[in-house]
């Protein structure tokens, strides 16, 4: 068995949050036992609604946050034993909002070349050559080199963020909502770019998003999260053709495609989104689930994998 490029083993992250001015701190489990493997060359999509912990996982993988428990392995080695700079060289992020992820006081050339300066690689000429090359790769005209972020459009800024991430030839790129802040016509340009880069450079992506159409288009495997847990995971085509978990089913029916004759979908979900500080007992999805029974209120279903299609639900559809 080959080792996965990235492996998280039962990671949890508990934040201490204030529950009110005169009340003590309470714990909020943002991530609750997530194990996920990302193999080399794969594009793994992590989908879920806001507050389900998907961005926290990105932060833990990037070592911006420390997991409360559990282990992260990169290329077979525990993440903690890898040098900080080496980690930064091999794993790079692309964030959602290109308006806040770029320093407004630095020129585009300086933003993109920063990784070279931090890692003290090559001389000035090599660095300049690399910046020119990478700007060309992501489709930024050379004249932008001395521009500042506020002179660029959202899509161009996101290209700068991608260029900066690719400077060090990373092995794993973590994209946290890479297109959510962009207009549709620009979103498709960025998705096309990400697809090209993957093909030409053999990149491995973890794409974190709430947009299922994007995931279906770009990911080879999908994990669906709900309140800190992965509730279903499978190859993209399997998951879209045969969603087994009621939550995944509701997510898929909620995707609004531009087909006017289909009308509005009926999700059969309850309206009360649970408070993550006070998660419901048993299966955390039961208050909204159309299939929930007494058992779901007491016991928490464990993830079971059948035919490479993992699901955590007592009433899951059979695998195909």
């Amino acid at each position: 068995m080959t080792t996965a490029l990235l492996q998280t083993e039962d990671i949890t992250k508990v934040y201490q949050v204030s529950a009110g001015v005169f009340k003590g701190k309470r714990s909020l489990a943002a991530v609750n036992g997530v194990s996920i493997d990302i193999n080399r060359g794969e594009v793994v999509g992590l989908v879920g609604e806001s507050g389900c912990g998907k961005s926290t996982i990105a932060k833990i993988i990037l070592s911006l946050e420390e997991a409360t428990s559990g282990q992260v392995y990169f290329d077979g080695e525990p993440m903690a034993t890898i040098d900080r700079k080496e980690r930064a060289r091999r794993i790079q992020p692309i964030f959602q909002d290109p308006y806040s992820s770029l320093n407004p006081r630095k020129s585009i050339g300086s933003i993109i070349s920063l990784p070279y300066r931090v890692h003290q690689i090559g001389n000035k000429a090599e660095m300049e050559a690399r910046v020119t090359e990478i700007m060309d790769t992501v489709g930024l005209p050379p004249r932008f080199r001395s521009s500042y972020p506020n002179q660029l459009s959202g899509g161009q800024r996101q290209r700068v963020a991608i260029a900066r991430a690719l400077m060090m030839k990373p092995e794993l790129v973590i994209c946290d909502e890479p297109t959510s802040a962009l207009d549709v016509s620009v979103q498709s340009q960025i998705l096309n770019l990400l697809l090209d880069l993957r093909e030409n450079r053999g990149l491995t992506y973890l794409i974190i998003t709430h947009d299922l159409s994007v995931v279906e288009h770009i990911a080879s495997r999908v994990a669906v999260m709900y309140l800190g847990r992965i509730v279903e995971e499978a190859a993209t085509d399997k998951l879209f053709q045969n969603p087994r978990h009621p939550y995944t089913q509701a997510l898929l029916t909620s995707v609004l495609t531009p087909e006017p004759r289909l009308g509005l979908p009926e999700t059969h979900l309850g309206i009360a989104y649970p408070n993550p500080i006070d998660p419901p007992p048993g299966c955390t999805f039961h208050p909204r689930c159309p299939k929930a029974t007494d058992r779901c209120q007491k016991d928490s279903p464990q993830p079971v994998s059948e035919k490479d299609h993992m699901v955590a639900c007592y009433f899951a559809e059979p695998p195909q």
Binding site: S50, S185, L195, V214, I218, S254, E259
Partner: protein, 335 residues
């Protein structure tokens, strides 16, 4: 019989240091009771400003002028701000994108709901409270009576948006304007809120203007669609016709950009619109879409490009004939 709201030739100019920003340049639209009109376009296309102009809620330095705006039989350009304040909220209500910023965090839900009615109608506080409870139940909030005492921060995003909708309906307005009502919400909740809006609109026979950038939402909600680009309406028509038979190169491009599960092939290139939106500062000659259009030819840069009418309510702003436009779409789909 005139439409509930009819806007003709609306312009919005915003003076900036760099010149005058022509945010809206000659927009027409109309909506009737029981109908949903969707204004769709990318950020900065003028869709929100058009509606804010109608409600006279534009920022002070922005100037707007129109040929005519009639609402409920009244000429709006003759209405003074004081009268306008009576119309807003009672006859046209607005639902904003971000319920947390639109609701006042210092007042209870009940207080804010009741205020909407007390401001406009001669009713007692008890009557207002009854109406609030009735509407909260209508928007699917259980235990409505006890919710009235809660503050906005105690509710989830989906519930807050439901409260916003209830607030909009307090005075039973003939027109409701929803500006990106579900953009800040999660997908499953978006579907629920949209279904709720659609059913309430039917029940109370309201006209609705839905402003959004999401073509999926438009397709599922709207009766009529106006696609906006750079301050102009570039194509308009019934939703079914416009989505099944888009004519303007911009509309066609937008539809090709969207990945549709089961239709677009995973991993393959999506269509895209090259280039970026031009800055709407100063006058522009010719077609607004010329610098991004695949089918651009000489006349596009010089001629005045007006709306061409194909049938009642179906118009597009392009110099190419409908047949050529259709052919372009078919060719781009087969490649």
């Amino acid at each position: 019989m005139n439409a509930l709201l009819e806007v003709k030739d609306l312009y919005v100019d915003i003076p900036l240091a760099a010149g005058v920003l022509h945010a809206v340049r000659g927009v027409d639209f109309s909506v009737d009771r029981g109908q949903t009109l969707s204004l769709v376009g990318e950020s900065g296309c003028g869709k929100s400003l058009s509606v804010l102009a109608v409600m006279n809620l534009l920022p002070k330095k922005a100037k707007w002028y129109a040929d005519t705006i009639t609402f409920d039989g009244q000429e709006m350009d003759k209405v003074r701000e004081r009268q306008m304040a009576n119309i807003r909220g009672s006859k046209m209500a607005m639902i904003f994108q971000e319920p947390m910023t639109a609701l006042n965090p210092c007042y209870t839900i009940g207080n804010q709901l009741e205020e909407a009615l007390l401001r406009h109608k001669p009713v007692s506080r008890n009557e207002a409270r009854d109406r609030a409870v009735f509407l909260l139940e209508k928007v699917g909030i259980t235990a409505a009576g006890s919710r009235l005492k809660q503050y906005p921060h105690q509710l989830s995003g989906g519930l807050r948006q439901r409260v916003m909708i209830a607030m909009g309906l307090m005075c039973d307005p003939p027109l409701i304007i929803a500006d990106e009502p579900t953009t800040a919400l999660d997908v499953t909740i978006q579907a629920q809120i949209l279904a709720l809006l659609a059913s309430l609109q039917k029940e109370f026979d309201m006209g609705m203007i839905l402003i959004t950038h999401d073509l999926g939402v438009v397709a599922r909600m709207a009766d009529y669609v106006a696609v906006m680009y750079c301050g102009q309406v570039v194509e308009t028509g019934r939703a079914t016709e416009l989505f099944e038979n888009p004519l303007h190169p911009y509309t066609q491009g937008l539809l090709r950009c969207i990945p549709v599960p089961g239709k677009t092939k995973p991993g393959e290139h999506l269509g895209s619109i090259p280039g970026i939106v031009p800055t709407p500062i100063g006058k522009q000659k010719g077609c607004v879409f010329q610098n991004r259009c695949t089918y651009v030819f000489n006349d596009c840069t010089s001629a005045k490009v007006g709306l061409t009418r194909i049938s009642a309510g179906r118009e597009y702003r392009c110099l190419l004939s409908p047949e050529v436009c259709r052919q372009n779409m078919n060719e781009s789909q087969s490649t």
